[in-house]
Amino acid sequence: MPRQYPHEVIKHMHTFRDRLIAWISAASVLLITLLFLWLVLDIFFKGFAGLHWSFLTSAPLNAGRAGGIAPVIVSTLLILGVCMLVCVPAGLATAIHLSEYTVRNPAAARLIRRSLDTLAGVPSIVFGLFGASVFCDLLGLGYSILSGGLTLACMVLPFMIRAGEESLRSVPQEYRLGASALGFSQYSVLTGILIPVAMPGLSIGLILGIGRALAETAALIFTSGYVLRMPESLLDSGRTLSVHIYDLAMNVSGGEANGYTSALVLIAILVMINTGARILTQRIVHEVHI
């Protein structure tokens, strides 16, 4: 026979527990926000002094200790562009297949999902070695922006596919049934209902993918390379911001100041791209709902 507590005590215990949970969650939010702020402010204060217009528009000098990062920014954006041009269509198509077309073959779907989850956990250096042997050597692209972008695409695809699939599957089944009842074609259902409704989730997948691509160093040292020249084509080797920051921090004595400034630029680019992606997806959602 369990002990009987008076009603007031039970009520008190409940409110105490509820408050505790609210407290703990608020404290963790505070902690995480503080850590994030610390990181950003640290980079901001150490990097802002070196941030001039000329830093963004001139080439690096003296192994990156002096001069700017113009070619590095261009290479970064080109590599990201190649990666996204491959990732977005291929990732969306695979996500659609997994969520909409594998109902009859759940075993195959499970296998694909397992493989994707495994791929998502593979260390990036493995993708780097894979990219170096397939894109650089086998396909003869050499150290190039194209090799780097394609390697990144292989690395980012599993994330984008899984995020895309989850958001497509979270669209209520009634929408599909209703559309079928009205005689919509599969194409109209996809472009008119499923993709727009799943857009917020799809955009999160995209943003996470962009973040992972911009942060990558290990895989790119072996594929897009280390060259600081302004790229003239997608077949030129080019150094990304992350590789540049890594080199300044780890290999170049006295390169820290410019490393911090480059990190600040990288964060700024990331924020700008993410905001852009969010605005774009919001506009698509908006258009459909009117």
Binding site: V82, P89, G225, Y226, E232, D247, S253
Partner: protein, 270 residues
């Protein structure tokens, strides 16, 4: 969707067109991450004087430079040590000198260690600074990762085997070693003297220990009196392309001595 496919095609076309425009001869140099920033600067000066060549410098480690030259992927390799007995198939060109100094935390009261003491520390026979007359503080041994040239130079000088070393921390690049020792009051490690001197000038909490009574300084590496030093090399296969020959002549000439000194290495007098 059609628009997207069109855009994709456009990109491939652009990539293709540009590739056809490349009339300049490309020279690929890969290898040691220690030398890569220096060679990248030398390459830029070389390109400004020889518009007909394009020099691509890639980093990745000395072992990689050797492998790439042997496979014919790179025209020139960068190796931050001297040749081993099984590497005589390659041609070695001395580029610059780099001294390797022992570093400890600035607040450590130890002023000097002899070679036997350092060997004892790295093999785990001495575990506390107190044993050597220092503070009561456990020693943190910071060793370099397998494949790093600094490790090979260190092992050779102290006649140690890497398997007998008992490290608490294993690091890659010099800057990582400096940061590790500066952040750990009981740590001891070894890095390129040039980069340690810069870090000390910037106020990093480390100090360089003398070896056999000779101060660990770039000056003493230059005059040859500091005993632990390595020679940075460029390597090629048995046959040289014309472009590689011209680049080597340039990189080994006094015209780049200012660049070598700017990276805190010591140019060789020829």
């Amino acid at each position: 969707m059609l628009r997207l496919i069109f855009c994709l095609n456009l990109v491939w076309l652009l990539a293709g067109c540009d590739a056809a425009d490349h009339a300049r001869e490309k020279l690929v140099i890969t290898g040691s991450s220690t030398i890569a920033p220096l060679i990248a600067d030398i390459a830029r000066r070389f390109e400004s004087q020889h518009a007909e060549y394009q020099v691509d410098v890639q980093s990745g480690g000395s072992s990689r430079g050797i492998a790439d030259v042997r496979r014919g992927v790179a025209h020139i390799g960068m190796v931050s040590r001297g040749p081993d007995s099984d590497e005589q198939d390659l041609q070695w060109y001395a580029l610059a000198r780099d001294g390797i100094g022992m570093i400890i935390h600035q607040q450590n009261t130890i002023a000097a260690l002899n070679a036997a003491q350092i060997a004892d520390i790295f093999t785990g026979r001495i575990m506390d600074w107190q044993t050597l007359g220092g503070p009561a503080q456990k020693i943190t041994v910071v060793n370099k990762a397998e494949g790093r040239s600094t490790l090979e130079v260190f092992l050779k000088f102290f006649a140690l085997k890497n398997s007998t070393i008992k490290p608490q921390v294993i690091i890659g690049e010099n800057q990582q070693g400096i940061k590790t020792v500066a952040g750990n009051i009981g740590a001891i490690g070894y890095v390129s003297i040039g980069s340690a001197e810069v870090a000390i000038a910037e106020g990093t909490a480390i100090k360089l220990l003398p070896m056999n009574g000779v101060a660990a300084s770039v000056d003493n590496v230059r005059n040859g009196s500091f005993p632990i030093a390595r020679t940075l090399h460029l390597i090629t296969g048995a046959k040289l392309t014309a472009a590689a020959r011209i680049f080597l002549d340039f990189a080994l000439s006094p015209a780049v001595h200012d660049l070598i000194e700017a990276q805190y290495f010591v140019p060789l007098q020829r």
